[in-house]
């Protein structure tokens, strides 16, 4: 099964579980009703915020640990200008 299918299946399963408890079809055993009624509706929003925080962390970490390599930079800039010239001769507009 492809990863996308697996992810879709698992998230559908947990969404269904969440919805069932949200609409009071089931009750989560062993959890205090009052606290659950306050926390449960916030779970999707918490997931969204967690996803955003994780993304920000991930970007920040990449930036923080990025190693500069000046020769690769010069080589890359040269290759970019070569590629742009090549595309221009073939009639494609490049900034």
């Amino acid at each position: 099964m492809a990863r996308a299918h697996r992810v879709a299946l698992i998230s559908t399963f947990f969404t269904a579980l969440w919805a069932l408890v949200f609409f009071k079809v089931f009750l989560v055993p062993g959890l205090d009703e009052a606290a659950v009624s306050q926390i449960w509706p916030l779970i999707p929003w918490w997931l969204l915020v967690t996803f955003g925080s994780y993304s920000l962390w991930s970007l920040g970490w990449g930036l923080f640990t990025f190693r500069d390599c000046p020769e690769a930079y010069e080589e890359l800039m040269h290759e970019i200008s070569q590629a742009k010239d090549d595309l221009r001769t073939k009639g494609i507009t490049v900034d």
Binding site: A34, I39, W46, S53, W57
Partner: protein
Amino acid sequence: MVGLFVDPVPPILTVVQGAGDKLLGGTMLVTAAVVFTYYTTWAMLLPFFDSSSEIHNFFPPREWAVRLPAIILLVGVSAIGAFVFNTIIKEKRKKQRQARLRTA
């Protein structure tokens, strides 16, 4: 010959650029950690505290724990939509201008 050879960046500037990256990256890391911890406490842990407890003074009323992410989500999606829309309009105008130049 069309196309310029880009001047190489002097080594001093690359070191300074690295510092800027580290600073920005570090800021993002700290922000992400703070946002996650604050929001988790706000949304998930506060209901377990007595309503007379002092911890509630550090947080806005809990309706905002839903409204804030909802507003940010709306604004974010609108911004993305506006950017996509803008890009499409620009490309269309460019195509019209090129078509006009060709027929002129």
